[in-house]
Symmetry: C2
Subunit: 378 residues, 2 copies
């Protein structure tokens, strides 16, 4: 299934009965948690790993992938794992999203060739035999298709029974030094570029309100059609591999990069800022947001639903956030539009950290840029 077929599938919507599931079957009901928004143990894990950056050559837990110098000279093992819960109802698309989300951690380091994928699967005990075969069969197909698009293969994994449907994978690459980009060389004067708009958590949740008829849509006076359109938009971008985005890190001399997932744009920007060699502050002054999601966030009681405007709203399989020179950024934006068919945006700049403390902030006068969907039927 190629890119356009994925888009067709997204636009058609998931029809449970067409693949032998009950009409009211809702995949996302098979879990009590959602997406990546369940990283509860970060502090414990940080205690456990004494330092984030072990030495110049070995990056531990905390950045996107671990990088392990090998016993065999000149090569490094770059590896990442992720597992989470369903956020869309089509198990085929969930398979694709799982792969895109796992591989994104490799792509964030400039690694474009994944040598192997493992699949991790917890199969919900609630599923009867027929449902299990459909759901897991479709998930595996999506997982495998996406791995194929990424130029890799799935050659192992593990499956267990679990009360919740649990989806994940492991991506591994053995690379020569030249295949890996340093992610810690941001310079004052660089701009910050983002390759997918934010607002994923708002899009997924508002669609769930609609689908599960929670009453929230009516309560907030929301437009159903615009919710569906945003859900389609986020489904497409969650399925989209950051592989071309990774290739262009090399072409356009990226100084630092990460991918945006569970901690949101600001959370990941902050993690990246803290890993820099020079004392820098990442100032985010422009938020590209999936169309209508800013309106929903404003209509919610806090006026800042899901902390969207604070930059900490979770994304799954979000874009790459990249620090690079202004002129390189222009070329990057031109090339990514050509390769992927979707735009990228400058969201801020790198400044010298006056107090010497590396961090990321949202500028008090930030602007919101509404990003309309580019996917259409037919």
């Amino acid at each position: 299934m190629d890119k356009n077929e994925v888009i067709e599938r997204i636009l058609a919507g998931f029809n449970p009965s067409a693949c032998g599931l009950p009409e009211d079957f809702i995949l996302t009901k098979l879990t009590g948690a959602k997406g990546c928004g369940c990283k509860i143990l970060l502090q414990l894990l940080e205690n456990f790993n004494e330092t984030k950056v072990v030495d110049n050559d070995e990056i531990g837990i905390g950045l996107d992938s671990c990088v392990v110098p090998l016993r065999h000279d000149g090569f490094k093992l770059v590896q990442t794992t992720d597992f989470f819960y369903p956020l869309v109802d089509d198990p085929y698309l969930m398979g694709r999203i799982t792969v895109a989300n796992v591989l994104s951690d490799l792509y964030a380091m400039g690694v474009t060739e994944c040598d192997n994928m493992l699949m991790l699967l917890g199969v919900a005990a609630d599923l009867d035999g027929k449902q299990r075969d459909v759901v897991i069969g479709q998930f595996i197909k999506g997982f495998k298709d996406a791995a194929c698009c990424a130029g890799t293969k799935v050659r192992g994994g593990q499956t267990v029974k679990c009360p919740w449907l649990l989806l994940g994978g492991v991506g591994s690459a053995v690379v020569a030094d030249s295949e890996l980009r340093r992610v810690d060389a941001a310079q004052p004067g660089d701009v910050l570029l983002l390759t997918k708009p934010i607002g994923g958590q708002v899009a997924v949740n508002s669609y769930e309100w609609l689908k599960k008829k929670t009453g929230r849509v009516e309560e907030l006076g929301l437009d159903e059609k615009r919710i569906v359109r945003a859900f389609q938009q986020v489904s497409e971008q969650m399925c989209r591999l950051n592989r071309n985005a990774a290739r262009l890190l090399h072409t356009h001399n990226a100084h630092a990069s990460t991918d945006v997932t569970g901690f949101g744009l600001l959370g990941h920007a902050d993690n990246l800022a803290r890993a820099q060699q020079k004392p820098v502050c990442f100032v985010i002054d422009n938020l590209p947001i999936i169309e209508y999601m800013d309106e929903i966030a404003r209509k919610m009681p806090s006026g800042n639903g899901f902390n969207l405007f604070s930059g900490t709203s979770a994304e799954t399989s979000g874009g790459l956030l990249i620090a690079l020179k202004q002129e390189d950024a222009q070329n990057y934006i031109r090339d990514i539009a050509e390769l992927d068919g979707f735009p990228a945006w400058i969201v801020g700049r790198v400044e010298e950290a006056m107090d010497g403390v590396c961090k990321a902030v949202i500028h008090k006068d930030f602007s919101v840029q509404t990003i309309p969907s580019r996917i259409h039927s037919g």
Copy 2:
């Protein structure tokens, strides 16, 4: 914590209140499944992976690890993952068992150097904050200590909330061809050697009957002391790395090898037999069983509790099963006793498959060899 300290810990037994947990805290209650006995989807996974052995150089799902030829000449990525549920009550020991169980798949291929480990953790929602910190803290410590004993490090992982406590890991090694043993060269005339006794499932379950006061112990008229002793024995062997066993595969010219886990001795012997180049039948005629476990299996209504005598009783972090020449086997047994301090046994022989179909069988006149515990206090 070295080997002797682990044994002391096992013999002392786990005391929940000593580490701040409620006196009646039972780790294994945090799940509805146990150990590796939950591989429900093998058929689906087999359909998904068209062939087990993709080509001579690339071994897919089905054998112990996947072996991926790399883009960089002469090297292969060997990788395995496993996740499962707690089977002993001490979270520290569960951390060690998890690592031993994951790495066993690498050791079965002759790989003795793991380059990186990832930790996979689903944290039971039932745990309150304090319990979570103790249980997860101890688990991580055990995981890390065992990785250290294996000469590797934990450099990444993922943690999610999950109704059941879920434990797992990923082991990866980048190896030169010489570090990897072929596992498909068993010869008629070889003997089959096993490095840990079977009966783990009986030991873990009978201990659970005792601990949870299910009434089963009284019903079957079992000896509590002997149950505890067997549980200590199986705890030690589940914690024990198969690393020395893997080293000796090279020293003593093993022709084929696998590790014994969820499918039991016969299940894994059969998988290994089917992967052989020559038409061979693995005939198992001797079952080394943890002391007293054969008696329990006989006292159960079927007379063959947990299918122990059928060879399909599940093991976790079981021993290596190895096909090699008779004289090499004698030297192997001598060396493993010296390196690990525990014996190994000849359990059968490799015969030519008269009908050309590779398989493993239990001989109708098999003998049972009772293996007493070698671990003692003080």
